[in-house]
Protein backbone atom coordinates (compact mmCIF):
# COMPACT_ATOMS: atom_id res chain seq x y z
CA UNK A 1 0.00 0.00 0.00
CA UNK A 2 1.25 3.46 -0.91
CA UNK A 3 2.52 5.14 2.25
CA UNK A 4 0.71 8.40 1.59
CA UNK A 5 -2.59 6.68 0.97
CA UNK A 6 -2.00 4.71 4.14
CA UNK A 7 -1.27 7.72 6.29
CA UNK A 8 -4.24 9.60 4.81
CA UNK A 9 -6.63 6.76 5.53
CA UNK A 10 -5.27 6.29 9.03
CA UNK A 11 -5.51 9.96 9.96
CA UNK A 12 -9.05 10.25 8.60
CA UNK A 13 -10.09 7.11 10.44
CA UNK A 14 -8.65 8.46 13.68
CA UNK A 15 -10.67 11.65 13.37
CA UNK A 16 -13.76 9.72 12.44
CA UNK A 17 -13.30 7.43 15.44
CA UNK A 18 -13.01 10.40 17.80
CA UNK A 19 -15.96 12.17 16.23
CA UNK A 20 -18.34 9.24 16.14
CA UNK A 21 -17.75 8.14 19.71
CA UNK A 22 -17.70 11.47 21.50
CA UNK A 23 -21.44 11.84 20.85
CA UNK A 24 -22.44 8.63 22.59
CA UNK A 25 -23.89 9.12 26.07
CA UNK A 26 -22.27 7.36 28.98
CA UNK A 27 -25.47 5.36 29.37
CA UNK A 28 -24.58 3.47 26.22
CA UNK A 29 -20.87 3.07 26.85
CA UNK A 30 -21.05 -0.65 27.52
CA UNK A 31 -22.78 -1.48 24.21
CA UNK A 32 -20.41 0.94 22.49
CA UNK A 33 -17.38 -0.87 23.80
CA UNK A 34 -18.93 -4.16 22.86
CA UNK A 35 -19.70 -2.89 19.35
CA UNK A 36 -16.13 -1.66 18.88
CA UNK A 37 -15.00 -5.04 20.13
CA UNK A 38 -17.13 -6.78 17.52
CA UNK A 39 -15.84 -4.51 14.76
CA UNK A 40 -12.21 -5.35 15.38
CA UNK A 41 -13.31 -8.96 14.98
CA UNK A 42 -12.99 -8.20 11.26
CA UNK A 43 -9.48 -9.53 11.80
CA UNK A 44 -11.34 -12.68 10.73
CA UNK A 45 -10.93 -11.40 7.18
CA UNK A 46 -7.17 -11.15 7.69
CA UNK A 47 -7.08 -14.62 9.22
CA UNK A 48 -8.96 -16.07 6.22
CA UNK A 49 -6.57 -14.28 3.87
CA UNK A 50 -3.48 -15.90 5.40
CA UNK A 51 -5.16 -19.26 5.96
CA UNK A 52 -6.29 -19.31 2.34
CA UNK A 53 -2.70 -18.95 1.13
CA UNK A 54 -0.99 -21.27 3.58
CA UNK A 55 0.91 -24.16 1.99
CA UNK A 56 3.02 -25.47 4.85
CA UNK A 57 1.80 -27.13 8.04
CA UNK A 58 2.94 -24.54 10.60
CA UNK A 59 1.43 -21.47 8.90
CA UNK A 60 -1.70 -23.50 8.21
CA UNK A 61 -2.13 -24.50 11.86
CA UNK A 62 -1.46 -20.99 13.13
CA UNK A 63 -3.73 -19.31 10.62
CA UNK A 64 -6.59 -21.77 11.14
CA UNK A 65 -6.24 -21.14 14.87
CA UNK A 66 -6.42 -17.41 14.07
CA UNK A 67 -9.62 -17.99 12.07
CA UNK A 68 -11.09 -19.84 15.04
CA UNK A 69 -10.20 -17.10 17.55
CA UNK A 70 -11.32 -14.30 15.24
CA UNK A 71 -14.66 -16.01 14.68
CA UNK A 72 -15.25 -16.13 18.44
CA UNK A 73 -14.46 -12.42 18.59
CA UNK A 74 -16.67 -11.27 15.75
CA UNK A 75 -19.66 -13.58 16.19
CA UNK A 76 -19.69 -13.31 19.97
CA UNK A 77 -19.20 -9.56 19.78
CA UNK A 78 -22.16 -8.88 17.54
CA UNK A 79 -24.47 -11.33 19.31
CA UNK A 80 -23.75 -10.01 22.78
CA UNK A 81 -24.13 -6.41 21.65
CA UNK A 82 -27.47 -7.28 20.12
CA UNK A 83 -28.60 -8.81 23.39
CA UNK A 84 -27.79 -5.64 25.27
CA UNK A 85 -29.39 -3.35 22.74
CA UNK A 86 -32.64 -5.30 22.65
CA UNK A 87 -33.12 -4.26 26.25
CA UNK A 88 -32.65 -0.60 25.51
CA UNK A 89 -34.74 -0.67 22.39
CA UNK A 90 -37.61 -2.51 24.05
CA UNK A 91 -38.25 0.31 26.50
CA UNK A 92 -40.51 2.74 24.64
CA UNK A 93 -42.89 0.09 23.35
CA UNK A 94 -43.06 -1.41 26.78
CA UNK A 95 -46.58 -0.42 27.79
CA UNK A 96 -48.11 -0.61 31.23
CA UNK A 97 -49.17 1.78 33.89
CA UNK A 98 -45.73 3.22 34.27
CA UNK A 99 -45.70 6.58 32.55
CA UNK A 100 -42.35 8.19 32.85
CA UNK A 101 -41.91 10.61 35.67
CA UNK A 102 -41.08 13.83 33.93
Amino acid sequence: MDVFALVTITVLAVFLGFEVVSKVSSTLHTPLMSEANAIHGIILLGAIMVAGQATEPLPLVLSVLAVFLATINIVGGFVVTDRMLVMFAAKPSRAGKKEVSK
Partner: protein, 459 residues
Protein backbone atom coordinates in the same frame (compact mmCIF):
# COMPACT_ATOMS: atom_id res chain seq x y z
CA UNK B 1 -13.85 -19.24 -6.08
CA UNK B 2 -12.96 -16.36 -8.30
CA UNK B 3 -16.36 -15.10 -9.23
CA UNK B 4 -15.95 -11.42 -8.40
CA UNK B 5 -13.21 -9.26 -9.84
CA UNK B 6 -10.97 -7.15 -7.64
CA UNK B 7 -12.90 -3.88 -8.01
CA UNK B 8 -16.10 -5.53 -6.82
CA UNK B 9 -14.23 -6.91 -3.81
CA UNK B 10 -12.85 -3.49 -3.00
CA UNK B 11 -16.31 -1.96 -3.32
CA UNK B 12 -17.47 -4.57 -0.84
CA UNK B 13 -14.79 -3.37 1.58
CA UNK B 14 -15.92 0.22 1.11
CA UNK B 15 -19.52 -0.71 1.88
CA UNK B 16 -18.37 -2.64 4.94
CA UNK B 17 -16.29 0.31 6.18
CA UNK B 18 -19.30 2.63 5.83
CA UNK B 19 -21.50 0.17 7.69
CA UNK B 20 -18.97 -0.06 10.54
CA UNK B 21 -18.96 3.71 10.88
CA UNK B 22 -22.76 3.81 10.86
CA UNK B 23 -22.78 1.05 13.49
CA UNK B 24 -20.67 3.07 15.90
CA UNK B 25 -22.54 6.27 15.13
CA UNK B 26 -25.92 4.61 15.58
CA UNK B 27 -25.12 3.83 19.20
CA UNK B 28 -25.74 7.43 20.12
CA UNK B 29 -29.47 6.72 20.19
CA UNK B 30 -30.92 3.82 22.17
CA UNK B 31 -33.78 3.48 19.71
CA UNK B 32 -31.64 3.04 16.63
CA UNK B 33 -28.81 1.20 18.32
CA UNK B 34 -29.99 -2.31 17.63
CA UNK B 35 -30.35 -1.62 13.93
CA UNK B 36 -26.90 -0.07 13.99
CA UNK B 37 -25.41 -3.23 15.40
CA UNK B 38 -27.07 -5.24 12.65
CA UNK B 39 -25.56 -2.90 10.08
CA UNK B 40 -22.15 -3.61 11.57
CA UNK B 41 -22.68 -7.36 11.38
CA UNK B 42 -23.93 -7.03 7.80
CA UNK B 43 -20.80 -5.09 6.93
CA UNK B 44 -18.61 -7.89 8.27
CA UNK B 45 -20.54 -10.50 6.28
CA UNK B 46 -20.31 -8.44 3.07
CA UNK B 47 -16.56 -7.94 3.45
CA UNK B 48 -15.81 -11.59 4.08
CA UNK B 49 -18.16 -12.79 1.34
CA UNK B 50 -16.54 -10.34 -1.10
CA UNK B 51 -13.08 -11.65 -0.30
CA UNK B 52 -14.04 -15.31 -0.44
CA UNK B 53 -15.89 -14.88 -3.76
CA UNK B 54 -13.09 -12.85 -5.25
CA UNK B 55 -10.11 -15.09 -4.58
CA UNK B 56 -8.90 -18.62 -4.93
CA UNK B 57 -8.73 -19.95 -1.42
CA UNK B 58 -6.85 -23.00 -0.27
CA UNK B 59 -7.68 -24.99 2.83
CA UNK B 60 -11.34 -24.07 2.51
CA UNK B 61 -12.45 -27.05 4.58
CA UNK B 62 -10.14 -26.17 7.47
CA UNK B 63 -11.24 -22.56 7.42
CA UNK B 64 -14.91 -23.51 7.37
CA UNK B 65 -14.36 -25.91 10.24
CA UNK B 66 -12.62 -23.23 12.30
CA UNK B 67 -15.43 -20.76 11.63
CA UNK B 68 -18.09 -23.27 12.61
CA UNK B 69 -16.19 -24.25 15.76
CA UNK B 70 -15.65 -20.61 16.72
CA UNK B 71 -19.30 -19.74 16.19
CA UNK B 72 -20.36 -22.83 18.12
CA UNK B 73 -18.49 -21.51 21.13
CA UNK B 74 -19.27 -17.82 20.75
CA UNK B 75 -23.03 -17.91 20.15
CA UNK B 76 -24.03 -19.90 23.24
CA UNK B 77 -21.57 -17.93 25.38
CA UNK B 78 -23.00 -14.63 24.14
CA UNK B 79 -26.61 -15.78 24.44
CA UNK B 80 -26.38 -17.27 27.90
CA UNK B 81 -24.10 -14.89 29.72
CA UNK B 82 -25.70 -13.10 32.65
CA UNK B 83 -25.73 -9.37 32.18
CA UNK B 84 -23.67 -9.11 35.35
CA UNK B 85 -20.91 -11.09 33.67
CA UNK B 86 -20.99 -9.07 30.47
CA UNK B 87 -17.73 -7.18 31.14
CA UNK B 88 -15.63 -10.31 31.44
CA UNK B 89 -17.17 -11.80 28.31
CA UNK B 90 -16.35 -8.66 26.35
CA UNK B 91 -12.81 -8.85 27.78
CA UNK B 92 -12.51 -12.47 26.64
CA UNK B 93 -13.77 -11.70 23.13
CA UNK B 94 -11.31 -8.84 22.97
CA UNK B 95 -8.47 -11.11 24.03
CA UNK B 96 -9.10 -13.72 21.35
CA UNK B 97 -9.30 -10.93 18.76
CA UNK B 98 -5.87 -9.71 19.84
CA UNK B 99 -4.56 -13.26 19.73
CA UNK B 100 -5.91 -13.72 16.21
CA UNK B 101 -4.19 -10.52 15.06
CA UNK B 102 -0.88 -11.65 16.56
CA UNK B 103 -1.13 -15.06 14.85
CA UNK B 104 -2.00 -13.51 11.50
CA UNK B 105 1.11 -11.34 11.85
CA UNK B 106 3.33 -14.31 12.70
CA UNK B 107 2.05 -16.23 9.68
CA UNK B 108 2.56 -13.23 7.44
CA UNK B 109 6.14 -13.03 8.71
CA UNK B 110 6.87 -16.54 7.41
CA UNK B 111 6.44 -15.15 3.89
CA UNK B 112 9.37 -12.83 4.50
CA UNK B 113 9.17 -9.08 4.98
CA UNK B 114 11.21 -5.97 4.23
CA UNK B 115 12.12 -3.52 7.00
CA UNK B 116 8.85 -1.59 6.83
CA UNK B 117 6.57 -4.62 6.68
CA UNK B 118 8.70 -6.34 9.32
CA UNK B 119 8.29 -3.41 11.71
CA UNK B 120 4.54 -3.40 11.25
CA UNK B 121 4.46 -7.15 11.84
CA UNK B 122 6.56 -6.80 14.99
CA UNK B 123 4.18 -4.13 16.29
CA UNK B 124 1.13 -6.30 15.58
CA UNK B 125 2.63 -9.41 17.14
CA UNK B 126 3.56 -7.54 20.29
CA UNK B 127 0.34 -5.56 20.78
CA UNK B 128 -1.85 -8.53 19.84
CA UNK B 129 -0.07 -10.78 22.34
CA UNK B 130 -0.26 -8.17 25.07
CA UNK B 131 -3.96 -7.70 24.43
CA UNK B 132 -4.57 -11.45 24.58
CA UNK B 133 -3.09 -12.11 28.01
CA UNK B 134 -4.03 -8.69 29.38
CA UNK B 135 -7.67 -9.37 28.51
CA UNK B 136 -7.55 -12.82 30.06
CA UNK B 137 -6.13 -11.47 33.30
CA UNK B 138 -8.90 -8.86 33.24
CA UNK B 139 -11.37 -11.69 32.70
CA UNK B 140 -9.88 -13.54 35.66
CA UNK B 141 -10.12 -10.50 37.91
CA UNK B 142 -13.73 -9.82 37.00
CA UNK B 143 -14.70 -13.46 37.25
CA UNK B 144 -13.08 -13.71 40.66
CA UNK B 145 -10.53 -16.30 39.57
CA UNK B 146 -7.76 -13.85 40.37
CA UNK B 147 -7.96 -11.34 43.21
CA UNK B 148 -9.39 -8.03 42.09
CA UNK B 149 -6.92 -6.21 44.33
CA UNK B 150 -3.84 -4.73 42.78
CA UNK B 151 -1.14 -7.38 42.68
CA UNK B 152 2.25 -5.74 43.05
CA UNK B 153 5.58 -7.24 43.95
CA UNK B 154 8.93 -5.53 44.46
CA UNK B 155 10.80 -4.90 41.27
CA UNK B 156 7.71 -5.17 39.06
CA UNK B 157 8.38 -1.77 37.55
CA UNK B 158 11.99 -2.67 36.79
CA UNK B 159 10.95 -6.02 35.35
CA UNK B 160 8.43 -4.34 33.05
CA UNK B 161 11.07 -1.87 31.93
CA UNK B 162 13.57 -4.64 31.18
CA UNK B 163 10.95 -6.64 29.29
CA UNK B 164 10.00 -3.60 27.22
CA UNK B 165 13.64 -3.11 26.23
CA UNK B 166 13.91 -6.80 25.46
CA UNK B 167 10.81 -6.51 23.27
CA UNK B 168 12.36 -3.66 21.31
CA UNK B 169 15.65 -5.52 20.89
CA UNK B 170 13.84 -8.67 19.77
CA UNK B 171 11.75 -6.68 17.32
CA UNK B 172 14.87 -5.17 15.80
CA UNK B 173 16.54 -8.58 15.55
CA UNK B 174 13.40 -10.00 14.00
CA UNK B 175 13.22 -7.30 11.32
CA UNK B 176 16.94 -7.58 10.47
CA UNK B 177 17.29 -11.37 10.40
CA UNK B 178 13.81 -12.35 9.30
CA UNK B 179 14.09 -15.30 11.66
CA UNK B 180 10.78 -16.72 12.81
CA UNK B 181 12.18 -17.60 16.23
CA UNK B 182 12.53 -13.91 17.04
CA UNK B 183 8.89 -13.39 16.12
CA UNK B 184 7.94 -16.21 18.48
CA UNK B 185 10.11 -14.68 21.21
CA UNK B 186 8.49 -11.29 20.68
CA UNK B 187 5.07 -12.87 20.95
CA UNK B 188 6.17 -14.51 24.21
CA UNK B 189 7.39 -11.21 25.63
CA UNK B 190 4.12 -9.55 24.61
CA UNK B 191 2.18 -12.28 26.40
CA UNK B 192 4.20 -11.84 29.59
CA UNK B 193 3.94 -8.05 29.50
CA UNK B 194 0.17 -8.37 29.07
CA UNK B 195 -0.01 -10.27 32.35
CA UNK B 196 2.30 -7.94 34.25
CA UNK B 197 0.58 -4.88 32.86
CA UNK B 198 -2.88 -5.80 34.16
CA UNK B 199 -2.01 -7.55 37.44
CA UNK B 200 -1.14 -4.35 39.31
CA UNK B 201 -4.36 -2.67 38.24
CA UNK B 202 -6.86 -3.06 40.99
CA UNK B 203 -10.54 -3.09 41.63
CA UNK B 204 -12.39 -0.12 40.34
CA UNK B 205 -9.94 0.61 37.54
CA UNK B 206 -10.46 -2.70 35.76
CA UNK B 207 -13.33 -1.37 33.60
CA UNK B 208 -11.04 1.24 32.13
CA UNK B 209 -8.46 -1.39 31.32
CA UNK B 210 -11.00 -3.33 29.27
CA UNK B 211 -11.54 -0.26 27.17
CA UNK B 212 -7.81 0.35 26.83
CA UNK B 213 -7.15 -3.24 25.75
CA UNK B 214 -10.01 -2.92 23.29
CA UNK B 215 -8.21 0.03 21.75
CA UNK B 216 -4.98 -2.04 21.68
CA UNK B 217 -6.64 -4.85 19.77
CA UNK B 218 -7.96 -2.22 17.38
CA UNK B 219 -4.40 -1.06 16.78
CA UNK B 220 -3.22 -4.62 16.22
CA UNK B 221 -5.97 -5.09 13.64
CA UNK B 222 -4.98 -1.82 11.97
CA UNK B 223 -1.40 -3.15 11.86
CA UNK B 224 -2.67 -6.32 10.18
CA UNK B 225 -4.41 -4.12 7.65
CA UNK B 226 -1.12 -2.44 6.79
CA UNK B 227 0.85 -5.66 6.44
CA UNK B 228 -1.86 -7.39 4.39
CA UNK B 229 -2.49 -4.23 2.35
CA UNK B 230 -6.12 -4.45 3.29
CA UNK B 231 -7.86 -1.10 3.58
CA UNK B 232 -10.85 -2.43 5.48
CA UNK B 233 -8.76 -3.88 8.30
CA UNK B 234 -6.83 -0.63 8.48
CA UNK B 235 -9.96 1.49 8.70
CA UNK B 236 -11.83 -0.79 11.12
CA UNK B 237 -8.79 -1.22 13.36
CA UNK B 238 -8.02 2.48 13.42
CA UNK B 239 -11.65 3.36 14.13
CA UNK B 240 -11.67 1.03 17.12
CA UNK B 241 -8.25 2.19 18.26
CA UNK B 242 -9.30 5.83 18.14
CA UNK B 243 -12.75 5.38 19.62
CA UNK B 244 -11.39 3.07 22.29
CA UNK B 245 -8.83 5.67 23.25
CA UNK B 246 -11.46 8.40 23.52
CA UNK B 247 -13.70 6.12 25.53
CA UNK B 248 -10.86 5.22 27.86
CA UNK B 249 -10.02 8.86 28.44
CA UNK B 250 -13.63 9.88 29.01
CA UNK B 251 -14.13 7.06 31.52
CA UNK B 252 -10.93 7.92 33.32
CA UNK B 253 -12.15 11.51 33.51
CA UNK B 254 -15.44 10.30 34.91
CA UNK B 255 -13.48 8.69 37.70
CA UNK B 256 -11.26 11.69 38.22
CA UNK B 257 -8.18 9.74 37.16
CA UNK B 258 -5.67 10.02 34.41
CA UNK B 259 -5.04 7.00 32.24
CA UNK B 260 -1.34 6.97 33.10
CA UNK B 261 -2.27 7.29 36.77
CA UNK B 262 -4.39 4.17 36.50
CA UNK B 263 -1.83 2.15 34.61
CA UNK B 264 1.19 3.16 36.62
CA UNK B 265 -0.48 4.39 39.80
CA UNK B 266 -0.51 0.98 41.45
CA UNK B 267 3.26 0.99 41.73
CA UNK B 268 3.21 4.14 43.77
CA UNK B 269 0.10 3.29 45.72
CA UNK B 270 1.21 -0.19 46.74
CA UNK B 271 3.21 0.85 49.75
CA UNK B 272 0.47 2.49 51.71
CA UNK B 273 -2.48 0.33 50.78
CA UNK B 274 -2.61 -1.40 54.17
CA UNK B 275 -2.66 1.86 56.07
CA UNK B 276 -6.32 2.78 56.20
CA UNK B 277 -7.66 -0.71 56.75
CA UNK B 278 -8.23 -0.13 60.47
CA UNK B 279 -11.67 -1.42 61.35
CA UNK B 280 -13.99 0.95 63.10
CA UNK B 281 -16.14 0.38 66.13
CA UNK B 282 -18.27 3.46 65.69
CA UNK B 283 -22.01 2.87 65.80
CA UNK B 284 -24.08 2.71 62.67
CA UNK B 285 -27.84 2.97 62.62
CA UNK B 286 -29.35 -0.22 61.31
CA UNK B 287 -32.97 -0.47 60.25
CA UNK B 288 -35.30 -3.24 59.12
CA UNK B 289 -36.91 -3.39 55.68
CA UNK B 290 -40.23 -2.48 57.33
CA UNK B 291 -38.68 0.73 58.68
CA UNK B 292 -37.44 1.56 55.22
CA UNK B 293 -40.93 0.98 53.82
CA UNK B 294 -42.29 3.57 56.22
CA UNK B 295 -39.60 6.04 55.24
CA UNK B 296 -40.52 5.49 51.62
CA UNK B 297 -44.16 6.18 52.47
CA UNK B 298 -43.28 9.70 53.49
CA UNK B 299 -40.99 10.44 50.59
CA UNK B 300 -42.18 11.98 47.38
CA UNK B 301 -38.85 12.44 45.68
CA UNK B 302 -36.74 9.32 45.73
CA UNK B 303 -33.43 8.58 44.07
CA UNK B 304 -32.24 5.01 43.87
CA UNK B 305 -28.48 4.63 43.58
CA UNK B 306 -27.68 1.13 42.35
CA UNK B 307 -24.26 -0.46 42.60
CA UNK B 308 -22.74 -3.69 41.55
CA UNK B 309 -23.97 -5.39 44.74
CA UNK B 310 -27.47 -5.00 43.34
CA UNK B 311 -26.49 -6.89 40.24
CA UNK B 312 -24.56 -9.57 42.08
CA UNK B 313 -27.61 -10.29 44.21
CA UNK B 314 -29.68 -10.42 40.98
CA UNK B 315 -31.85 -7.81 42.66
CA UNK B 316 -32.17 -5.37 39.75
CA UNK B 317 -35.57 -6.79 38.86
CA UNK B 318 -36.79 -6.28 42.43
CA UNK B 319 -35.41 -2.74 42.43
CA UNK B 320 -37.18 -2.00 39.17
CA UNK B 321 -40.42 -3.34 40.58
CA UNK B 322 -40.06 -1.23 43.70
CA UNK B 323 -39.46 1.87 41.58
CA UNK B 324 -42.47 1.08 39.45
CA UNK B 325 -44.65 0.54 42.49
CA UNK B 326 -43.56 3.77 44.16
CA UNK B 327 -44.07 5.68 40.94
CA UNK B 328 -47.57 4.30 40.59
CA UNK B 329 -48.37 5.83 43.96
CA UNK B 330 -47.27 9.24 42.80
CA UNK B 331 -43.72 9.36 44.06
CA UNK B 332 -41.06 10.70 41.74
CA UNK B 333 -38.50 7.92 41.44
CA UNK B 334 -35.35 7.98 39.36
CA UNK B 335 -32.18 5.93 39.27
CA UNK B 336 -29.04 7.97 39.80
CA UNK B 337 -26.27 6.26 37.94
CA UNK B 338 -22.58 6.76 38.35
CA UNK B 339 -20.72 6.41 35.04
CA UNK B 340 -18.67 3.53 36.40
CA UNK B 341 -21.32 1.82 38.49
CA UNK B 342 -20.99 -1.89 37.87
CA UNK B 343 -17.94 -3.49 36.40
CA UNK B 344 -17.82 -1.62 33.15
CA UNK B 345 -18.77 1.95 32.24
CA UNK B 346 -22.48 2.06 31.52
CA UNK B 347 -22.85 -1.48 32.83
CA UNK B 348 -25.53 -0.53 35.37
CA UNK B 349 -27.67 0.96 32.62
CA UNK B 350 -27.57 -2.35 30.79
CA UNK B 351 -28.60 -4.22 33.91
CA UNK B 352 -31.49 -1.88 34.66
CA UNK B 353 -32.58 -1.90 31.05
CA UNK B 354 -32.69 -5.68 31.35
CA UNK B 355 -35.08 -5.20 34.27
CA UNK B 356 -37.27 -2.96 32.08
CA UNK B 357 -36.51 0.31 33.77
CA UNK B 358 -37.38 3.01 31.22
CA UNK B 359 -34.40 4.71 29.64
CA UNK B 360 -35.75 8.08 30.82
CA UNK B 361 -35.54 7.04 34.48
CA UNK B 362 -31.82 6.41 34.21
CA UNK B 363 -30.28 9.70 35.21
CA UNK B 364 -26.60 10.46 34.71
CA UNK B 365 -24.44 11.60 37.59
CA UNK B 366 -24.10 15.26 36.63
CA UNK B 367 -27.84 15.69 36.36
CA UNK B 368 -28.78 13.78 39.47
CA UNK B 369 -26.17 15.56 41.57
CA UNK B 370 -28.14 18.75 41.03
CA UNK B 371 -31.26 17.09 42.36
CA UNK B 372 -30.11 15.61 45.67
CA UNK B 373 -30.80 18.79 47.66
CA UNK B 374 -34.49 18.48 46.84
CA UNK B 375 -34.57 14.73 47.35
CA UNK B 376 -36.36 13.24 50.34
CA UNK B 377 -34.79 9.85 50.34
CA UNK B 378 -31.87 8.20 48.65
CA UNK B 379 -31.86 4.44 48.54
CA UNK B 380 -28.34 3.18 47.94
CA UNK B 381 -28.49 -0.45 46.93
CA UNK B 382 -25.29 -2.44 46.88
CA UNK B 383 -23.15 0.59 46.08
CA UNK B 384 -20.34 1.99 48.14
CA UNK B 385 -17.36 3.54 46.37
CA UNK B 386 -19.47 5.70 44.05
CA UNK B 387 -21.04 7.52 47.01
CA UNK B 388 -17.99 7.49 49.27
CA UNK B 389 -17.07 11.01 50.40
CA UNK B 390 -13.47 9.84 50.84
CA UNK B 391 -13.20 10.61 47.14
CA UNK B 392 -13.50 14.27 48.09
CA UNK B 393 -12.11 14.48 51.59
CA UNK B 394 -9.14 12.16 51.98
CA UNK B 395 -6.31 12.77 49.52
CA UNK B 396 -4.61 9.51 50.52
CA UNK B 397 -7.54 7.38 49.42
CA UNK B 398 -7.21 5.35 46.22
CA UNK B 399 -10.47 6.81 44.96
CA UNK B 400 -9.52 10.40 45.81
CA UNK B 401 -10.57 12.70 43.00
CA UNK B 402 -13.26 10.44 41.62
CA UNK B 403 -16.50 12.36 41.16
CA UNK B 404 -19.17 10.81 43.36
CA UNK B 405 -22.91 10.98 43.76
CA UNK B 406 -23.45 13.50 46.56
CA UNK B 407 -26.11 11.50 48.34
CA UNK B 408 -25.40 13.18 51.67
CA UNK B 409 -27.13 16.32 50.36
CA UNK B 410 -30.48 14.53 50.48
CA UNK B 411 -32.71 14.53 53.56
CA UNK B 412 -32.29 10.85 54.32
CA UNK B 413 -30.06 8.14 53.02
CA UNK B 414 -30.71 4.43 53.39
CA UNK B 415 -28.10 1.87 52.42
CA UNK B 416 -29.12 -1.65 51.57
CA UNK B 417 -25.91 -3.56 52.07
CA UNK B 418 -24.80 -7.12 52.47
CA UNK B 419 -22.27 -6.20 55.13
CA UNK B 420 -20.30 -3.26 56.38
CA UNK B 421 -17.24 -4.45 54.53
CA UNK B 422 -15.59 -1.97 52.24
CA UNK B 423 -16.46 -2.03 48.54
CA UNK B 424 -14.63 -3.24 45.47
CA UNK B 425 -11.91 -0.66 45.92
CA UNK B 426 -11.48 -1.68 49.55
CA UNK B 427 -12.05 1.68 51.22
CA UNK B 428 -13.87 2.56 54.41
CA UNK B 429 -16.98 4.71 53.92
CA UNK B 430 -17.41 7.59 56.40
CA UNK B 431 -20.97 8.05 55.28
CA UNK B 432 -22.15 5.04 57.28
CA UNK B 433 -21.63 7.00 60.49
CA UNK B 434 -23.51 10.09 59.33
CA UNK B 435 -26.62 10.69 61.52
CA UNK B 436 -29.00 10.93 58.57
CA UNK B 437 -27.84 7.64 57.20
CA UNK B 438 -29.31 4.30 58.14
CA UNK B 439 -28.39 0.87 56.94
CA UNK B 440 -30.49 -2.21 56.26
CA UNK B 441 -28.11 -5.14 56.33
CA UNK B 442 -28.71 -8.29 54.36
CA UNK B 443 -28.71 -9.72 50.89
CA UNK B 444 -29.98 -7.00 48.56
CA UNK B 445 -32.55 -9.23 46.93
CA UNK B 446 -33.98 -10.57 50.21
CA UNK B 447 -34.10 -7.08 51.69
CA UNK B 448 -35.73 -5.62 48.60
CA UNK B 449 -38.31 -8.40 48.49
CA UNK B 450 -39.27 -7.77 52.12
CA UNK B 451 -39.25 -4.06 51.47
CA UNK B 452 -41.52 -4.46 48.48
CA UNK B 453 -43.92 -6.62 50.47
CA UNK B 454 -43.98 -4.05 53.28
CA UNK B 455 -44.60 -1.19 50.87
CA UNK B 456 -47.43 -3.06 49.19
CA UNK B 457 -48.95 -4.05 52.54
CA UNK B 458 -49.05 -0.43 53.61
CA UNK B 459 -51.54 0.56 50.91
Amino acid sequence: MKILNESVVLTGYLVAAILFILALKGLSSPRKARRANRLGATGAVIAIAAYVLGHDIRNGAWIALAVVAGAAIAVPAARRVHMTQMPQLVAAFNGVGGGAAALVAVVEFTHGADAWAGSVIAFTVFIGGLSLTGSFITFGKLQGIITSRAVVFPGLGVLLGVLTLAAIATAVAMVITGNLLYAAALLGIGLVIGVLFVLPIGGADVPIVISLLNAFTGLAVAGSGVMLSNVLLLIAGTLVGASGTILTISMATAMGRSVTGIVFGAFRRARKSGADAGTEDRPVRTVTPEDVAILLEYSSRIVIVPGYGLAVAQAHHAAAELAEHLTSRGADVVFGIHPVAGRMPGHMNVLLAEANVPYESLVEMDVVNGQFKSTDLVLVIGANDVVNPAAKSSPGSPIYGMPILNVSEANQVVFLKRSLNPGFAGIENELFYDPKVSIALGDAKATLTQLLAAVKAAV
